[in-house]
Amino acid sequence: MIEVTIQLLGFIAAALLLIIGIAGMVFLDNIIKKIIAFTLLSDGVNILLVAIGYIEGGVVPILLPGMSTVEFTTHAALVFPVGIVLTNIVIGVSTTAILVALAIMLYRRYGTLKASVVLKGERR
């Protein structure tokens, strides 16, 4: 029997977000909806990372007065996976900005946001 821990719940949430995100990016046709699906995907990655850094009964990796260094070492959340989340947020922001800017410009040119119309295959 699988023991249900907070970490496992986090993983399941991450996996669901990821699958919903990929499904949205593939099956939805509106470019803006696709971008929203990407933000779901990116949040799924964030939750996955936070859950990997989770420690049962742990503390935030910030030293507070009165702590012991040995205890801190064993109980603080894993700082590496938690720190990567910051990077992923920044990357998500930049990618979203670029995608939205491109969507705006293509909308001005074609007057629609349907990927099957704007981004259809064409011969050169």
């Binding site: 699988i2 023991e3 821990t5 970490q7 496992l8 993983f11 399941i12 991450a14 996996a15 990821l18 699958i19 990929i22 499904a23 593939v26 099956f27 046709d29 996955l48 990997i52 850094g53 420690i55 990796p61 910030i62 030293l63 507070l64 007065p65 009165g66 702590m67 012991s68 260094t69 205890e71 801190f72 070492t73 064993t74 603080a76 894993l78 700082v79 590496f80 996976p81 938690v82 720190g83 910051l86 990077t87 920044v90 990357i91 922001v93 930049s94 990618t95 900005a97 670029i98 939205v100 800017a101 491109l102 705006i104 410009m105 001005r108 040119r109 349907k114 990927a115 099957s116």
Partner: protein
């Protein structure tokens, strides 16, 4: 959207299910079996640098990564502005189709309620000062550069929404780009002192955990931010070193970058 209807759609759903099942089954194995690895070493050395170990991780243990991460948002801003029309280039010998014109957004500020109209400016100013507080209050521990930038640009956006294009907090384009360049350039150049004195780029000479920086540099960068940490084992004298400076540079960069994104989206881009 004919590509994903019918048989193709069913196949795509099956493919998605395979991916999902594989991913979930792997995560069931991972739960509870995560190896701490290098994170524990980082945590065990936290008291020597700064109390906020996430900030230490971001700016000291992984300082160069964070430089590139900072560059990511800079690139994001420059590219978004480029899409809108800033810096579009054509071959002189063979001009192609004219680049798309980007019109400024239209604001309808007449419909705002009186409360919003009169509380908007104080709110924006409050946000602005809050941003400054976030980046300066963290001087002893680092952290908050990105947050400060986001808060300040939020104030900028708020002002634009409430007061239209001629809002009180209107940055010029040169100013925004200059701030961004100063931020990222400052962050990059903060690697130089460590490089010149110890040979390691972005060596945190102020904190100097390993004692390889010359004492003069340690004095210049370390002493102003020295702090004492009262822990169970005793009092540790730790120092974040150049982390607060990097933090300020990061804040400048983020203000410049997100400001440029907002600017380009709101005002469009016209060459003078």
């Amino acid at each position: 959207m004919n590509e994903l209807r019918g048989k193709r759609g069913i196949l795509a759903v099956i493919a998605l299910l395979i991916i999902g099942i594989g991913f979930l089954s792997s995560l069931f194995e991972l739960a509870g079996n995560v190896r701490p690895g290098v994170s524990q070493i980082y945590n065990s050395l936290a008291h020597l640098v700064a109390p906020n170990n996430i900030a230490t991780w971001v700016y000291d243990w992984r300082g160069y990564d964070t430089l590139l991460e900072t560059a990511v948002i800079y690139v994001g801003a420059v590219v978004s502005a480029m899409v809108i029309g800033r810096g579009v280039v054509q071959m002189k010998s063979c001009p192609q189709e004219p680049p798309a014109q980007s019109k400024p957004l239209e604001f309808h500020i007449e419909t705002l309620t009186v409360i919003l109209k009169y509380l908007g400016l104080p709110a924006a100013i409050l946000l602005f000062s809050y941003g400054i507080m976030v980046v300066t209050a963290s001087s002893t521990s680092g952290g908050g550069g990105f947050q400060c930038g986001v808060i300040m640009t939020a104030a900028y956006l708020l002002a634009a929404i409430f007061y239209g294009k001629n809002n009180p907090i209107r940055f010029g384009k040169r100013f925004i780009i200059g701030i961004g360049a100063a931020g990222l350039g400052g962050y990059t150049l903060l690697g130089l002192p460590g490089f010149l004195t110890t040979g390691f780029w972005q060596y945190n000479i102020g904190a100097d955990v390993w004692g390889i920086a010359p004492s003069i540099m340690r004095f210049i960068f370390g002493e102003p931010f020295r702090l004492s940490l009262v822990l169970k084992e005793g009092v540790f004298f730790s120092s974040p070193g150049i982390i607060p400076l990097i933090n300020v540079a990061e804040a400048f960069n983020v203000i410049g970058a997100i400001g440029l994104i907002y600017f380009a989206f709101i005002y469009g881009w016209q060459e003078e």
